[in-house]
Symmetry: C2
Subunit: 488 residues, 2 copies
């Protein structure tokens, strides 16, 4: 697709945004419900197409689609409650502490057209109608989606389905549309009518687009989810207590989806001096995993390079020898913590695929100190016993990760109100989440109305609260009165 063709899609999306920006959340909710229903009713077709193109197994794809549909409905409920508007009303107050204040009210409004780059590894949850698209549409934006080449047919089919559903529900044409190919993708980041980008992909590709977005005459926010190694720290006590359980969980988590998860545990810090003491167990666990094709030849090539790079670092041993075949068998590498201190960059290489690195630390070694060697992460995990004091380690991990886990595994990200999927760079390029209801706010900006008469205010800011949303009034949060009575 040429840049000119991308232009006309973007202009159409902007027109749709203008037609839709002032629509009541309940109406937007109906549009999105139509999309959810369409995805649901075409699950068989979509899953089968997705399997053909991505080699991900059907059960996983079916779950992923269900998750995407659930996510859309969670966002629908959120905007009907008006949570995303953050409506705030300060009535005029002649006795305000710094001097008389005028009537001032604030509400979030959508940014405009949002460009969304689909990820290869989640053809539903982080692609066409994945988290970025769903949250941008829920926010009131129009979406121009860059279809990932790794599942082009699925992308086009899903997009057609989404467009048809939106049209059927009465949404303006162009509210959701797509572009394909590199030239169109770059145009998407450059176009003056595009007001934000959602991206999930590699650190190199994401950083290049972030730089592009930042260099624009009018820079735009670039919400990029790039790379993460997702370290796991096992305390001596946990290791002594349940070593087998931990290694079993580890083996399952890093091979899930052939290791092609952004939350795959790529590092395990454990009190291992003799690599031999864990290799038997890992061998046994991993022998039962059935390898399958990776997402694409390009990804396989990248996996091979990354694996070789880590493997050739000084002091790295092979614990479980896998391979770089089309359907690679999993690899476990080992390095001693003191060798890591000499070359901490070995902790920065993401191996996107079924490989992971065990870092063996010595008895009494300071785990918090090891944690300081890490870059920004999506997740960091502690395997410890409940009564242990690991607060120093947790504090260091909190500085470096967006989600901390306790005696759990990072793969599998539930979509909820509290979820946070994002972390210090390079995990993400902004301190925001791309999963959960909090992701909607990324695509909005606040506008204050100063000294407005009621008749000229936007509906959510008028005293009567016709949309029945939660609002902060003169500093105090108020639930909508009518809704409360209803819910009794």
């Amino acid at each position: 697709m040429t840049a000119d063709q991308a232009d006309s899609r973007i202009v159409a999306a902007h027109q749709a945004y203008e037609d839709a920006r002032d629509v009541e959340p309940r109406v937007r909710a109906r549009w999105l419900e139509e999309v959810a229903a369409a995805l649901e009713s075409h699950a068989d077709e979509l899953v089968s197409l997705g399997h053909e193109e991505t080699h991900l197994d059907e059960a996983r794809l079916r779950f992923e689609l269900r998750r995407s549909v659930f996510q859309l409905r969670l966002f629908i409920a959120e905007i009907v409650r008006g949570e995303h508007l953050d409506a705030t009303i300060d009535h005029a107050d002649p006795a305000w502490g710094m001097g008389p204040r005028p009537d001032i009210r604030r509400v979030n409004v959508p940014l405009g057209v949002v460009g969304v780059f689909g990820a290869s590894n989640f053809p539903f949850a982080f692609s066409v109608m994945g988290g970025d698209s769903a949250s941008a549409l829920a926010a009131g934006c129009a979406v121009v989606h860059k279809i990932h080449g790794g599942h082009l047919r699925l992308g086009i089919r899903t997009a057609d389905m989404v467009s048809a559903a939106l049209a059927k529900a009465g949404a303006p044409q162009g509210l959701f549309c797509t572009v394909v190919g590199r030239e169109a993708a770059e145009r998407l980041v450059d176009h003056p009518l595009v007001r934000a980008i959602g991206f999930t992909g590699s650190t190199a590709g994401g950083r290049a687009l972030f730089d592009r977005a930042s260099k624009r005459r009018v820079p735009i926010p670039f919400y990029g989810e790039l790379g993460s190694i997702n370290p796991v720290f096992v305390t001596q006590k946990a290791w002594d207590t349940r070593r087998e359980e931990i290694l079993t969980g580890y083996a399952a988590s890093f091979t899930m989806g052939m290791g092609q998860f952004c939350t795959k545990p790529g590092l395990l810090f454990a009190p291992v001096q003799d690599p031999g003491e864990v290799s038997d167990l890992l061998h046994r666990e991993l022998a039962s995993k059935q390898p399958s094709l990776l997402l694409s030849p390009a990804l396989r090539e990248g996996f091979g390079k990354a694996l070789n790079s880590v493997q050739s670092a000084s002091g790295v041993e092979v614990l479980v020898a896998g391979d770089e075949a089309e359907a690679p068998r999993p690899t476990v590498l080992f390095i001693a913590a003191q060798k890591v201190r000499e070359q901490p960059e070995v902790l920065e290489q993401e191996m996107f695929g079924p490989a992971t690195l065990v870092v063996g630390y010595n008895p009494g070694e300071d785990l918090a100190d090891l944690a300081r060697l890490l870059e920004g992460q999506l997740t960091a995990t502690v395997q410890a016993e409940p009564e242990e004091d690991v607060s120093a380690l947790l504090t260091e991990l909190r500085e470096r990760a967006g989600r901390l886990l306790w005696n759990a595994w990072p793969t599998g990200v539930t979509v909820t109100y509290a979820q946070h999927h994002g972390g210090p760079y390079p995990a993400t390029t902004a301190a925001t989440t791309s999963v959960g209801t909090a992701s909607i706010g990324r695509f909005m900006r606040p506008v204050a109305y100063d000294s407005f008469p009621a008749s000229q205010l936007p509906v959510p800011l008028r005293d009567p609260n016709a949309w029945r949303i939660r609002r902060r009034v003169d500093g105090v949060w108020k639930e909508p009165a009518v809704q409360r009575e209803d819910s009794k």
Copy 2:
């Protein structure tokens, strides 16, 4: 100050941040209250020093200091209520729609060391202990403040007072410190331990630092408030009804503080065909304004250049002739709307000082269409009659400004819960506010805790709610029970 000297301040600030990051909001509140009390009790000295260096009149400086102290106390109350934490708790739920969910909880944590660049035009409200510093400290960050050369002695004196107050209250040393000069300023933007920048200043200077922050190996958020022209649109009806009142308000607003406000109305769109019909009234109004010295010689030079640039644009006439003296008399320029359409860039030149441009439009001309010629703004104002339908104009202005005003003037920004001081680029570099309680959130990031036992969770996320803060629990916002009983 050398880059090395800046380094040691930054390292000290980071140590203080580490020592203070987990302190309870009530303790942090006591530290900040000590700062507020110190500023208050030294008002005479600070105001007098400020007047010497900035030439701003004492009444204005006294009000500005009072505003800064009020702001600090408003933020104190906000963090004690825990509003900034956005604490969210989702208990484990085996029946969750997308599949069983683990216990997951989220809280905002401070970013770390924040660099704050003081503005020349508000030596209290946007300088040493102005909005950026106050919100960053309230968020739990440490602040390294770059003192503006325009009020160096005041800056140093204020900073000493702030440091002494923090020490007296028991805060760790280095939680607030300063740097001076260009080399140290650049180091502040580059240093790996600095996690965000707050800036108020010119578009050129701000953009250069924004680019610097974006190009870092680890990019950081740059909250810059750059340039804004703050257009005012007068409808035909308002003009017919109260032309004199409008021109009087306009003259007072654009000359306030010698026009050195970021919210100064720099453009007035009015149905004026013959410039002569307004010049008499403006002459009369402006004759009564007593000119005073501008903030600095550098600023005066910039004002002269900007004024000449607008004045030399094709079709620009002088309505009221001022000058570029050390204490310049105000200037009003005029241009017809059709000439603006040929060269819309004439609307982009901020004249920081006592000068403004009247744009005369023809009867029946589409104001929304004229609004589309504008760049991003901090404010946009409509002067209209209550019964008029100006929704198309308001919509265009909403797309381009962060605060809309109705029959009011943009100078004077109250500090409240609903306030928003920020707008599309170049007004600001991010869709955030630098005024009001919402500014605190800029300096925090969310962290989620997945599957944690109660004893290992941070206090604000434990079920008992010891800090008595408002939290969202399983999707429903809950007021702290104990506080409710107290407040009865």
